[in-house]
């Protein structure tokens, strides 16, 4: 379990300011939701936290420690793992190879990795019979499960999820949200980005609403569901 603290984060694409100083608190062991319309800057925020985007200003603290000096590929070893938007699984690798890439930085015994693999496959039983299949041939739902399973193989203490329900049938969406709570119960802190705001707010203890690169609202998930601003933004 890790806590995440983001302070006054600013990120720009060229001259365009995508994030104008956002601050977030994700307490250890909780689920925190980050919601907002398309283009609000949610993906940019997650990528900046992972180091894929340079910061123009602000700080990212993991368990109270500034991680600016940690290169992006080493942040995984701190337990900071992202499931990116659009899944981004390796389509030409098999399901088993994708899962192995999740554990790329683990220096664990073979038996320990096997136990973790079993745990992931219990979470996503559909992947078990598809281990030898090329992941590009999986259905959208299965690909999302693989993306989450791959991230779990890294043993995250803080998991960032970018729109895990995007493009999935309603029944699968329910299943994904259930899995997110199950992952959280395993002791993983979760920062959940969603456009599917109501479902995200339902499972989140705390939440932030992002608009044009700024946090416009924050509070408990339950309070935000009832707030006028969210009702207005998402129900018209």
């Amino acid at each position: 379990m890790s806590s995440l603290q983001v302070e006054e984060l600013c990120v720009a694409y060229g001259k365009i300011q995508a994030l104008r100083g956002i601050s977030l608190q994700v307490p250890s062991g909780r689920i925190c939701a980050l919601v907002g319309a398309n283009g609000a800057g949610k993906t940019t925020a997650l990528n900046a936290i992972c180091g894929l985007r340079p910061l123009v200003g602000g700080r990212v603290l993991l368990d109270g420690r500034d991680i600016a000096a940690v290169p992006p590929h080493d942040r995984v070893t701190l337990g900071l793992v992202q499931v990116p938007e659009g899944r981004r699984i390796f389509g030409r690798l098999t399901v088993a190879e994708n899962l192995a890439m999740g554990a790329f930085r683990r220096r664990a015994m073979r038996s320990e990795l096997q136990a973790d693999l079993d745990e992931v496959l219990t979470l996503f039983p559909r992947l078990r019979e598809r281990m030898a299949q090329l992941s590009g041939t999986l259905s959208g739902g299965e690909q999302q499960m693989l993306a989450m399973g791959r991230a779990m193989m890294a043993k995250p203490s803080l998991l960032l999820l970018d729109e895990p329900s995007m493009g999935l049938a309603p029944r699968l969406v329910d299943q994904i949200f259930e899995t997110v709570t199950a992952i959280n119960r395993l002791g993983v802190t979760v920062l959940l980005v969603e456009q599917n705001a109501f479902m995200a707010l339902e499972i989140a203890e705390t939440a932030y609403v992002l608009q044009s690169g700024e946090v416009v609202l924050s509070g408990t998930g339950a309070a935000l569901i009832d707030s006028e601003a969210v009702q207005e933004a998402y129900l018209g």
Partner: protein, 359 residues
């Protein structure tokens, strides 16, 4: 809707003069090849043994092209960039092997322990070539990583000249003789055909090398990471993969293969020169494009196809047409085939359609 006739009509309406010219060119080349082929068959000039030796030689030179092509294709697969200094990495590998064998010859090892000498030469050419490839990545590619797409092309081209003229300065402008080795002289009978022993050894070594490469790429942790980085760099970083390290590994692997190719080339052709990296580099690059650049089995297939066409082509259809000196036209045939295949199939034999880049 999609019947043949409407499609033809539609195609005709949209055709430009360039298309008409290209179709005519294809028909012309196919016609010449067909005519030469038939005429050659009507007046057979070669017996079974000659054909077999053309075939084996085609496979041998094809294996060397394939080894070089693999380096181009692996680097392209990850960086979408062509390393023009790759041919000169091959050339330095050949010199490293040559000097090792000369040293072994001088102290008598070559005569008493030919297998050990071969192993030493193999080690030397792989180390030197892999080291040079790593150097190429560091000085000609990495500084331009975030720059314009053309910069690394120019810098690797520049490095190619630097390597060629350093080799010329160090080793001389004249051809250098590869030490001959009693252990690889002579011929062996295979299925009643007499095949030079050196060609068998070279083919065996090349095929084993490609097998090892396939195992590395398909079965090891680093090989899997290589394929992951080739597909999606950012996703690979999110898995904790150090992309820089994977790139260096890829250059080193491609360089080592080119080094092996250098040794094998020297064994077959018995002499090497500072300038050969250019010709063999172009052939290897052609083979990579022919197979579908970025595709590893494609590079192997492309190498063997190019070697076979080059070796069988002159006898197969140039003799029939009555060309006076068909073997002078080997390269012309090779490149014509390359162009023809690319006209019919721009992505190469095994290449995938160029995917729309992720937004």
């Amino acid at each position: 809707m999609s019947g043949l006739l409407p499609r033809l009509q539609d195609g005709w309406r949209r055709a430009t003069w360039v298309d008409v010219f290209l179709v005519a060119l294809r028909l012309l080349v196919l016609g010449i090849v067909g005519y030469g082929f038939v005429a050659g068959l009507l007046h057979p000039r070669y017996g079974r043994d000659e054909w077999a030796s053309f075939l084996v030689f085609g496979l041998v030179i094809g294996a060397i092209y394939a080894l070089i092509a693999l380096g181009y294709t692996m680097v392209y697969g990850i960086l979408r960039m062509v390393n023009f200094a790759h041919g000169d990495v091959f050339m330095f590998g050949a010199y490293a092997a040559c000097f090792t064998l000369i040293a072994c010859n001088r102290n008598g090892l070559l005569a008493t322990q030919p297998a050990l000498s071969f192993a030493l030469a193999l080690l030397a050419c792989m180390l030197v070539a892999a080291g040079l490839a790593i150097l190429a990545e560091r000085i000609a590619y990495r500084p331009f990583r975030r720059g314009r797409a053309m910069a690394p092309l120019i810098s690797t081209l520049g490095l190619s000249f630097v390597l060629e003229y350093s080799a010329r300065g160090m080793f001389g402008a004249q051809n250098k003789a590869f030490p001959s080795f009693p252990a690889i002289d002579g011929a062996v009978l295979v299925f009643g055909l007499s095949i030079p022993r050196v060609q068998l050894i070279v083919m065996l070594a090349a095929v084993l090398t490609m097998l090892v490469l396939t195992l590395v790429v398909m079965r090891t942790r680093m090989g899997t990471a290589m394929r992951a980085v080739a597909e999606d760099q950012d996703a690979a970083i999110l898995m904790g993969i150090n992309v820089d390290r994977v790139i260096v590994f890829t250059f080193a692997l491609g360089g080592a293969l080119a080094g092996v190719a250098g040794l094998l080339y020297g064994l077959v052709f018995k002499q090497i020169s500072f300038f050969m990296g250019f010709f063999l580099g172009v052939k290897g690059f052609g083979a990579a494009v022919l197979g579908g650049i970025g595709n590893i089995p494609g590079a192997m297939l492309g190498g063997f196809s190019l070697g076979l066409v080059e070796s069988l082509g002159p006898a197969l259809f140039l003799e029939g047409i009555g060309v006076a000196a068909p073997y002078q036209l080997r390269d012309a045939i090779a490149y014509t085939m390359l162009v023809m295949v690319l006209i019919f199939r721009p992505r190469g034999l095994l290449g995938e359609r160029l995917a729309v880049k992720r937004a």
